[in-house]
Subunit: 145 residues, 2 copies
Amino acid sequence: MLTIGKLSDAAGVKVPTIRYYEEIGLLPEAERSAGNQRLYGRRAQERLTFIRHARELGFPLEAIRDLLSLSDRPDQSCAAVDAIASAQLLAVEARIARLVALKAELERMVTQCAGGRIAECHVIEVLGDHSLCAHDHSADQQALA
Amino acid sequence: MLTIGKLSDAAGVKVPTIRYYEEIGLLPEAERSAGNQRLYGRRAQERLTFIRHARELGFPLEAIRDLLSLSDRPDQSCAAVDAIASAQLLAVEARIARLVALKAELERMVTQCAGGRIAECHVIEVLGDHSLCAHDHSADQQALA
DNA sequence: GTAATCTCTCTAGTAACTAGAGGTGCAAGG
DNA sequence: CCTTGCACCTCTAGTTACTAGAGAGATTAC
């Protein structure tokens, strides 16, 4: 059995984060030692590694919650799993498209900065006047998140 | 003079967001009508449009705060402005690189899903066992944010 | 035995808002 | 003139996924 610190090292997830995952129910309540310290077995470690890996792939915790409960039902169809992963893929693609557009605009701004006074700075100018901007980036707040 | 609702429509920023910007000091405290309602002039509208545009380009509010105070000093060198914009460009490029790697991994996962049972689902398998993953994506939590 | 390191709980803070409750202002129709 | 209804006010709390810190107890190392 591992203490929370050992589990933290083993899974690559910080100690407070592990406690947080328990609090929101992503991890089951841990067993406790005589002195009330959390103890973890192999199952908990696997589950935590699963979570970490999914987080690294950008899955939100709610999606991970769903994936975990699906992975607990190995007999069912994996269509739901596929749907979650595909949704995540779409989200990632949308964010990339959005960021690539931003990158182009920022590059344009930065390369046109002549290095003079702020009064003539292209960066400030573009930010202040939307009509100077190359493309229309409105109504896409959520793509940034 | 515009009421907060009109300003919201004019600048494309939601009403509670405008109040929030005032609260955190990005916008100066608005004048008030006899009935205590906020009133805005042209300067406030320009400032809010500047903020909105910078937000659309992904600048964090703290950077926008700096850009605003720089734009209030038109005589100074625009080097600081350029530095903020360049930092933002770098941040965007880093996020793109990160997301492109995630996209590849997700595509690999999704296309290998055979549509069978969860027990054999490649998605669940990869998430559970990091060694099945194509590349090493560790220690890059901040690139996602 | 004691000092150092973990671990415990609890609260509060982060970014950038969003949602809702409960109450006032104001403009237009009847 | 009055009322209806929308816009506005303040304040609190919630969102996501944690992170930081305080103050106290548990373990481990020497």
